[in-house]
């Protein structure tokens, strides 16, 4: 398996082409998305909520969700902490009020429609979209059901229709996006009798929240939850009790979810571009090493052969010489012996002849 120059160039070209074909991934961006201009947002004034569940009723009606196990007028459900489910886009939970135990605190929970949603970043078929109106919409016609969005959401909102075998969907609040497009209010907003949920453009909502906090510093903590959490959300909250006592995590940070994975994604084209070069290089080096060692081995073998051949040749000539000498010696001694024998024989014959 030898590497020809042509083959090497071909591979490098392929590697280069694959890098160019890849999409641009902005790995580290210092720009934060502040939301589409004029997108809507919602302020939940927790100090106003009385836990009447009118919002849940309206949401169920507007989205044509199946009827609940217990009717919405049944306030005993508030004895347990609930989360959103495949049949409930929003829930109201009751919490202890440490300052005034007789007046518990109620908090409405639903999708926060983040400015840079984790679910949209996580979805590998782009089923979630952050619409210009502010709502994070879900397209069930492309959803594969991998549920990575449920893993990604830091607020633990999306729910899944696990008992549906053929067309299970991810279920979450839609901010009544179709109604928004018609100029109507979301169902829950319209239904709340205390106007504990206010609707408007995001910057207006922020202003309202700031005004309320300024006007009644004894009533609210000086923090608008959702202004910066996870890069900012479209659903914001103000309250008098610490958020961590109300089931809202304060340790989520301000980094938007897509930024958490953009570094890893950014490394992909680099690997695609660099690895073939590295590996081909290693291969070339190992081939070269093999070739060089093969050559050295051949050289060593040749030398050894030559040496042994020379030695053998020398030995052979030496032996031949010796043999020849020996043969000559034998020949000489044989001749001598024959001559002696002949002379002896001649001498004896002469003796015999002289005797007669």
């Amino acid at each position: 398996m030898s590497l020809t120059r042509r083959r090497f160039l071909g591979w490098i070209g392929a590697a280069g082409a694959s890098t160019v074909l890849g999409r641009n991934a902005d790995a580290s961006s210092t720009v934060h998305f502040k939301g589409y201009p004029d997108s809507f947002a919602i302020l939940h004034d927790i100090s106003l909520c009385v836990g009447c569940r009118a919002c849940e009723t309206a949401c169920n009606k507007v989205n044509e969700l199946p009827p609940p196990d217990l009717p919405f007028k049944d306030l005993t459900v508030l004895n347990q902490k609930r989360r959103t489910t495949a049949k409930t886009f929003t829930v109201v939970n009751r919490f202890e009020n440490e300052k005034n135990p007789k007046q518990p605190i109620f908090v409405k929970k639903q999708c926060n429609h983040c400015l840079e949603p984790a679910c949209a970043s996580a979805c590998f078929v782009k089923a979630f979209k952050k619409t210009p109106e502010g709502a994070v919409s879900y397209d069930h016609s492309v959803c594969v059901g991998c549920r990575y969005c449920m893993v990604a959401c830091p607020f633990e909102i999306p729910a899944y229709e696990y008992d549906n075998a053929f067309s299970p969907r991810v279920m979450k609040c839609t901010m009544c996006h179709p109604r928004l497009l018609e100029g109507k209010l979301p169902g829950c907003v319209e239904a709340c009798p205390k106007e504990a949920i206010s609707f408007g453009k995001r910057r207006e909502i922020l202003n309202i929240a700031r005004e309320r906090i300024k006007k009644h510093p004894e009533r609210y903590i000086d923090h608008i939850y959702g202004e910066t959490e996870m890069g900012g959300t479209s659903w914001m909250y103000i309250t008098g009790a610490p958020f961590s006592q109300l089931g809202m995590r304060e340790d989520l940070g301000i980094t938007p979810a897509p930024e958490l994975t953009s570094g890893a994604l950014g490394a992909v084209p680099i690997v695609v571009g660099l690895w073939p070069v590295l590996l081909t290089g290693i291969y070339a080096i190992s081939q070269r090493k093999e070739k060089v060692s093969a050559e050295e081995q051949a050289l060593a073998v040749a030398e050894a052969v030559e040496k042994s051949e020379a030695a053998a040749k020398q030995k052979l000539t030496g032996e031949l010489e010796k043999a020849r000498k020996d043969a000559q010696k034998d020949k000489d001694s044989a001749i001598k012996q024959a001559v002696k024998k002949a002379l002896d024989e001649a001498a004896s014959v002469k003796q015999e002849a002289s005797d007669v």
């Binding site: 989360r83 970043s121 893993v151 075998a165």
Partner: protein
């Protein structure tokens, strides 16, 4: 060969076969339930715990343990270590079957499996690491399949096709390493998006690096583990080259595994230092983390090194098993045990027996297919017709 087939036919009712048969039947029943009644009928998945055993074990462990394919072929073809050549085919087969089973298991877990091609043909969510994983796994499965086909073609006698494919080996190997790097690391990067749900001792910005490095360790150890089992059950299928090279493979891979484990241990400690989460080590989860780190990373590193030094093949083989278990533990920790650690214990997840059964079913299917291929095709031996073409 004929005497062997006769003996197989005679003893079809081996204990393992009976067990496998039972598992297959139960698995088939559960499959029907899953696709007629939905996930709720066969799993303990919930809205708080969307990913369960099938993702934690079948997907994460499966992909990491099938990494032997790219590691071995890289060692032999790119790094030129020809003395491990006999390990390539079994490793590629393990890899191919591993990835095939991962895709098989994915069909169970995902809500609408018939839509699995959607990210590629309908709408691509390229901001998602899952897209990355899916694309690379799909491509890599194809690569592995192509790398496996020469064995099948030799068995079927398709000489010309086989020769063409063999010429692609170099390209496929490089492509395979690139794809493996990408998807092994991306599986770890999947969890980067949920820092609020994964315990700080396991969560790190280096998760992709950890997953990639540990996949190399998993691959090396899995090849050793698989070779141990093959030597036990399929020794008669092995040819002389295979048997001769075996000790070399064991020692060489053991050495490599020890080195990579040492490196992995180091980067784990560095990760701890950078995130400055030492105080978690004194909690319950901390003890569990140390158990994983010391018992399944530091210990095998040490044991591999001792085994290589003393040329103790048996120790290396047992350490390979320990390491494989450690990789499984690490993946299960990240996906199930340290994930959602902030939830109260009443809301934590434990797999339904049917989920466990399906995982067992998938593993058994894998073993059966492996057995079939290994007994029929030139994996553990070289086909006599192609002996000198390597």
């Amino acid at each position: 060969m004929s005497e062997k087939t006769l003996s197989v036919n005679k003893s079809l009712l081996t204990p393992f076969n009976i067990f496998a048969g039972v598992v297959l039947v139960i698995g088939a029943v559960i499959t029907v339930l899953r696709f007629t009644k939905g996930l709720a009928a066969v799993t303990n998945l919930s809205d708080n715990n969307p990913w369960g055993l099938w993702i934690g074990f079948d997907l994460l462990c499966g992909v990491s343990l099938a990494a032997g394919g790219f590691v071995t072929s890289a060692a032999v073809y790119i790094f030129g270590m020809k003395r491990y050549h006999s390990a390539v085919r079994p490793a590629i087969l393990t890899g191919f079957l591993g990835y095939a089973l991962v895709v098989f298991a994915l069909n169970y877990d995902v809500g609408r499996p018939w839509r699995l091609p959607y990210p590629f043909i309908v709408q691509s969510g390229t901001t998602s690491l899952l897209f990355e994983v899916g694309a690379c796994v799909a491509l890599y499965l194809t690569v592995l399949f192509i790398e496996f086909t020469p064995a099948a073609m030799e068995w079927l006698g398709l000489k010309k096709a086989r020769n063409i494919v063999v010429r692609l080996t170099m390209l496929l190997t490089i492509f395979g390493v690139v794809l493996s790097t990408l998807h092994q690391s991306s599986l770890g990067a999947l969890y980067l998006i949920a820092p609020s749900k994964l315990h700080p001792l396991w969560y790190s910005t280096y998760l992709p690096v950890y997953f990639f490095v540990s996949s190399i360790i998993a691959g090396l150890s899995m090849v050793l583990f698989e070779s141990t089992l093959s030597h036990h059950y399929f020794e008669d299928k092995m040819d002389q080259t295979h048997l001769n090279e075996n000790t070399g493979v064991t020692l060489g891979f053991g050495k490599a595994a020890s080195l990579v484990l040492a490196g992995y241990f180091t980067i784990k400690i560095i990760g701890l230092a950078i995130s400055n989460n030492w105080h978690y080590l004194t909690t319950g989860y901390g003890a569990w983390f140390l158990f994983e780190l010391l018992g399944f990373v530091a210990l095998p590193c040490f044991l591999y090194a001792v085994g290589v030094r003393d040329k103790n093949v048996k120790l290396i083989r047992w350490t390979a098993l320990l390491t494989v278990l450690g990789i499984v533990l690490n993946r299960l920790n990240i996906s199930l045990i340290a994930f959602n650690w902030q939830l109260p214990s009443s809301e934590r997840y434990f797999p339904h027996w049917m989920e466990i059964m399906v995982s067992v079913f998938i593993v058994v299917v894998g073993i059966l297919v492996f057995r079939f291929i290994v007994t029929k095709m030139p994996i553990l031996y070289e086909h006599p017709d192609y002996k000198d073409t390597h």
